[in-house]
Symmetry: C2
Subunit: 361 residues, 2 copies
């Protein structure tokens, strides 16, 4: 088993990575001093598929377990489900030592983490991510959130999990489109920090799409390592270091939002966002056209979209201005300097942004 | 001006204490790098009384200000007002550098702090406490919360303010009963940590009740210093150090809750709670009867209640078991060893607790 430790003093935690780990959940948690009574938050589908494995493993190692299900969609990240969970937990939490387990993708991870952050001013929680996107990205680093009507992730907290259990075996039943969405984030890690991962992705499409055990574990380890190091250096996203993880996300998020989170999933939207960011970088003469082409080719190789369809430039620009990343009314882009290296640039002229979006529309 | 610094590394902040400080708000905040656009959360009454002073001072020093009012009662600490504020702030927060100011007592401080903790995963906020209770206790230390129907303060976060502005002059229009409620907490500080404060309180009732400037500033400085040192040593209440601030609160909270937060205000309830805790300590032979009598006398001297009325023992015991402080089904009491020194004791036998409550009923 590979273990990557995320070092944040009293908030440090292990990220365990290996196929088959889900049946070892209880064993992995037993020495963490997080309490005895697990409340597992998941959806019906995942509960059917993995619930018994988690439950049996927990009980084998002296934990009790209680499952609460939420809908299998972004709807679960609402204040209503958040409050409903807190009410259920508070009724269940008598003479108990409750901690939470997020068994699911990004939605369940964000919701569970946020509940854990505000219930009784913070209780322990564990992430068992079940999608590629969650395994390499959202389950790690303690960003939790729910959506309000006015904006996604408007309400949230930084609250680190006490452990992350990454079992690539869980991806076997993942729909292909969700797998590709995760690969969008994997490509992001390659561009921001790891040229060798970029080459590996270029040369191992078949293995990756067929979920070859070694290939998947390798890309997961590489991505998780990058994420862990970035978070260690800028836990609260205050030093401009964690910002690089937002490569492709400025236009990506605007695109998701402009399409009302319907047309593009996250990985698809950031694929277009990465191409746009790289194009802006070319425009500013800090990145070369050849490498831009390499990025476009890799994104196409993984059947991810390279062009914007079905939404107007103005709608995307409107969303862009409303974004949380537009700090103090200034835009802020993560731009590539080379494959494996990015920088943060503020105040990109609006005409350049518009030009790029039009070019890929 | 006296400044007490609460040292928590990157979360350190100053607590400014002096009569008249409210008109210097803008000046005190101008070098804190907290943003330019203040959103002041207050109630109608306080807005009328102090709003213009805060607004003028902010604007004089280059800040903008926007006021949002909430009801003048515990009702404001609800998820509804929390969400309503977040929605208003998010609409206002375009091309701005928003930070929050809590202008009010404990309710407004808790609510504002919680909103600041979850809006965009945490923004800056300032405390301008307007009651004695808030000035010596709740505005300091970063505990924020709102109430759910099932329990008070069930949802919250640790989120430190960036500064606390304590202006004892604001207490001049405070209703007497609220002043006494704050004095309950002042007596608590004396018993847990400061024998000389205990004597001062004993000998200066008249000055304190007439809000003599020097006397009030002295007791506030002493209390705030104690609170700051305790919080510095145990910010997240994990080491059993911050727990001592709960002296009188175990039975006090149970009493407030059993009376549905109607009959007793906080200071009144903890006055009875302190007497009960001291009585339990006598029972366990760790505290002497003479000092118990001194505590009872001081509480009476400040016209705070020493006996429980209008609620049954069983109702109090029920509330006690439901309390957040009953960690892992074990009770935990802060008990005096001497005036100025307390210890934390777990698992006090139920018959002793019942006996004490009956004795003071």
């Amino acid at each position: 088993m590979k273990t990557i430790r995320l070092n944040l003093k009293t908030r440090s935690y292990p990220i365990f990575i290996e196929e088959g780990l889900i049946v070892k959940t209880g064993c992995l948690l037993k020495n963490l001093m997080i309490g005895k009574d697990a409340v597992v938050i998941t959806n019906n589908n995942l509960r059917k598929r993995f619930g018994a494995k988690v439950k049996n493993s927990l009980e084998k190692h002296g934990f009790t377990s209680k499952f609460y299900v939420v809908p299998d969609s972004e709807k679960a990240k609402s204040i209503q489900y958040c409050l409903s969970l807190i009410n259920k937990i508070s009724k269940y939490d008598k003479k108990k030592q409750v901690f939470l387990i997020a068994l699911g993708g990004g939605v369940i991870g964000d919701l569970t983490g946020f509940v854990a952050s505000i219930y009784k001013r913070g209780i322990h929680y564990i992430q068992i991510p079940t999608t590629l996107l969650a395994q390499v990205d959202s389950s790690i680093g303690g960003k939790t959130a729910i959506d309000l009507k006015v904006a996604k992730n408007l309400v949230g907290a930084f609250h680190q999990p006490r452990a992350v259990i990454v079992d690539p075996g869980l991806l076997k039943s993942l729909p292909k489109r969700q797998l590709k969405s995760g690969l969008g984030e994997v490509i992001k890690y390659a561009i921001i920090k790891d040229r060798s991962l970029f080459s590996f992705l270029k040369n191992n499409r078949k293995k990756i799409f067929s979920l070859d055990k070694k290939a998947i574990e390798l890309i997961e380890r590489k991505c998780i390592y990058i994420k862990a190091k970035v978070v260690e250096n800028d836990e609260f996203e205050k030093k401009g270091i964690r910002t690089i993880l937002n490569f492709g996300h400025t236009i990506g998020h605007a695109l998701e939002s402009a399409c009302e989170y319907d047309k593009y999933n996250h990985g698809e939207a950031i694929s277009i966002g990465m191409i746009c960011a790289a194009d802006i970088a070319c425009n500013l003469k800090i990145f070369n056209e050849k490498d831009l082409d390499k990025i476009i080719d890799l994104i196409k190789l993984y059947n991810l979209p390279g062009r914007i369809k079905g939404v107007t430039l103005n709608k995307i620009m409107d969303s862009l201005v409303r974004d949380k990343k537009f700090i103090q009314a200034k835009n802020r882009f993560v731009l590539p300097k080379a494959i494996g290296k990015v920088i943060v640039k503020k105040n990109i002229p609006e005409n350049i942004i518009r030009g790029t979006i039009l070019k890929y529309s």
